[in-house]
Symmetry: C2
Subunit: 160 residues, 2 copies
């Protein structure tokens, strides 16, 4: 099954968090499950904060990329367009808020779940939760905006 990020055109698929063309990145992949999006990620042992717990910066990074992916997917849906049709939707983050509700144990797979809170014009606000088993440990809210022209890449570059 193709993830939302699999449809990003090559020059827009180099993100450290979710770019399929980034050899050093996290390769987060987000999928629609009905009206929400899901992504799964298992941190490495070195993705630690204090011993036994997942690093908060990594969690923020996962929330961020799952939100921009969700925003892109939502923008296509709103237009009734298939993912991958042109012109591409690609969102960047204007503002990120992450509440660490409780420590996230390191080891188990994390489930990220995204929900569109609002979509208007070039802005999409996405709520993302991170769960371990049945417990939500993190809640994020992300204001994403369609990539501005000033960030549009030039000719394709090789993988980083």
């Amino acid at each position: 099954m193709k993830a939302i990020q699999d449809f990003y055109p090559d020059p827009l698929a180099q993100c450290f968090g979710c770019g399929r063309l980034n050899d050093h990145g996290y390769h987060l992949r987000s999928f629609w499950v009905g009206d929400v999006t899901e992504a799964r990620f298992t941190p490495q042992p070195y993705h630690t904060a204090l011993p036994g717990f997942v690093n908060g910066g990594l969690l923020a990074s996962l929330v961020d990329c799952h939100a921009t992916g969700t925003a892109a997917g939502a923008a296509y849906r709103k237009e009734g367009r298939e993912m991958g049709t042109l012109p591409p939707h690609r969102f960047v983050t204007a503002s990120l808020r992450v509440d660490y509700l409780r420590p996230t144990p390191i080891g188990p797979e994390l489930l990220l779940r995204g929900r569109v809170l609002s979509i208007s014009g070039r802005k999409v606000v996405v709520e993302v939760t991170v769960s371990v088993g049945s417990e939500v440990t993190v809640r994020g809210e992300v204001l994403t905006v369609e990539m501005p022209e000033s960030m549009r890449p030039g000719p394709p570059r090789p993988p980083v």
Copy 2:
């Protein structure tokens, strides 16, 4: 010169963002410069968002660790204690807000600057900016709290 994080006891120095004992991490190091704190970090080429710009998740991670380091330093200062004296201060993040004011170009060294907005009881609120040259590209505000007992590590573990 020793950074604030250099004074973290070994079991509390394994953080992916700022732990000196994390072989895979960013090793962020924060220093007092008068009443503010500073840290410098040069992203790798693969720490990209869209080509040419620094990944927002990485920026959130740097803001996060610089804030918890600043909070620890501020807690020692408030008590008139030298860094490294016992018991240790070690803060974790309860809530993180990051505003991406403009895209952060990838390549140059980033300067993080931290400022304590409030300190009371076990809570320290820290503002962190990220600058490239003379331009502030990111502003963060982080609510940090003294590490709860439930997160205190057991016996020392080997580096991760």
